[in-house]
């Protein structure tokens, strides 16, 4: 069973995404509400993949990702960014970060797991 960590400051989105991955794909999901908590959770649980929001207070998604890359334990875990920002000017900021994929909000809860699997080569 795949183990996923969702990092998003919006509680509703955490809940919907977790329900979607658990009930549609049968994956095991843990959640964190900030970049800092996400890093702690990732160190504790070593998930198979991380689904992370881009815009979060304090430490945003790209910054959290960069922090994770500094840790040998976390650098190997693939990260998918989830963003509500679809403007080219925003996407430019994600360019070259080295994340596995960028998915857009609003996501389709019925195909979220499938999109992640494709991005991560899990099919």
């Amino acid at each position: 069973m795949r183990r996923i960590l969702i990092i998003d400051d919006e509680e509703d989105i955490r809940e919907v995404a977790a329900l979607s991955l658990e009930s549609i794909a049968g994956w095991s999901v843990k959640t964190a509400s900030s970049g800092a908590d996400g890093i702690k959770a990732a160190l504790a649980d070593r998930p198979d993949a991380i689904l992370m929001d881009v815009m979060m207070p304090a430490m945003d998604g790209p910054t959290t990702f960069k922090e994770m890359q500094k840790s040998p334990e976390l650098a190997q875990i693939p990260v998918i960014l989830l963003t509500a920002k679809v403007q080219g000017v925003d996407q430019r900021r994600f360019a070259g970060l080295g994340v596995a994929a960028v998915l857009f909000k609003p996501f389709d809860p019925l195909t979220l797991a499938e999109q992640m699997s494709v991005a991560l080569g899990w099919n």
Partner: protein, 454 residues
Amino acid sequence: MITFVITVLAVLVVVLSVCSIALGIAHARTRQVCDRLNRELATALREALHQQTVLKERRELDTIKDEFISTVSHELRTPLTSIRGALGLLSSGVMGKLDDKAANLLRIASSNTDRLVRLINDILDLERMDSGRAPLHIRRCVLHELVEHAVDTMTALAEAGEVRLDIVPEPAGDPITFDGDPDRFQQVLCNLLSNAIKFSPALSSVRVLTGSDGEFLVLRVEDQGRGVPPEKIETIFDRFSQVEASDARQKGGTGLGLAICRSIITQHAGSIWAERNDAHGSGRQGTTFTLRIPRMTSAAASAPAKLQGRIESTVLVVDDDDASRRTVVELLRRHGYQVQEASTGAEALAIAANQRIDLILLDLYMPGMSGWQTIERLKHTEATAAIPVVVISVVSPTDSGEELPLMAATEGWVKKPLNEGLLLTELARVLDLTHGRVPLLAKSFTYAPSSRLS
């Protein structure tokens, strides 16, 4: 003797007087010239400063607009993510079975949420296209492949409405190809097909016809629906224009699909229009949408004309392969561009940060710092972030899994092996689109009258 001396002195006085007068006149003229030069210099300085201020203000305004749209988009999408997610999970039945009435209410809520999402996407899409923030990624396309793909995509919708989708084969001969943005072109086809299907009665058919007309490709989507009333035929490409006020609600459209089609086709230098099938007295019901775009290989011929206004543009060509770089450099110089060269990413960064560069033409595969890394550094450096980058590469942006970030960080893409016409057209397009938005004067530019006048 005395007479001779007096005569000589007199002559000398006269000569000196003449010289003095001449010098006075020359001095006055020199002063006049100096004064004129000073005035011209002051005017040039004022104009340059004014231009710099205007560009700065325009750029600041664009940044504010970008940030506003980005924020609005984010703020609208965030709650919609929760709503759509929750409704999607509930109506899928994975949370437990629902009775028919509850399922129907959820279906209504879900389809309207989807409509809202489409509306937001379309508004942003249109805004990006109209303001030049959604550049085309031009490459050679095979028309029938795109048509077949679009028809495949719309088959489910057609089956649901019991509408038959027919592709009328191209006239015999070589497959029709054209230079365009395949994704955007597909978007147009899907929009036209989706419209045609939605307004077609059950058991009717929608036909797609393709052909070429000299240097242009022509594509028609023909339906047997109720037809667009004559008084609406001119306005249906306008934003939020609907034949019937209730159409958006009943058909699930946003009222922006045809406006987006027109915007994309215009970007391809083409035209799109609608005609009633009975316009020529045929008595047939329905509407035909026709689009006509240049197949673009011929656009090379018009590219130099378009470039006239770009003569002041400086392009930085970055390629580690000397032969390839020289070819491009010579081509650009022939067409009036100022050109700078770099053979490594590091060299490119240094030039871009310190000189006036209007556009960077970048090879992706280079030893040391790759093109990809170069783009990243350019976009993350304040002095170079605004310079548009056009990639030249053997891969197209859709070939790799990195598609999204790569495409987002570039303003244009030209595939190798290089088609000269395509390259010139793409450069002209990117420069035209970014003209006035990206500063023509690099950020580090300071006014230096002496160097400008020399």
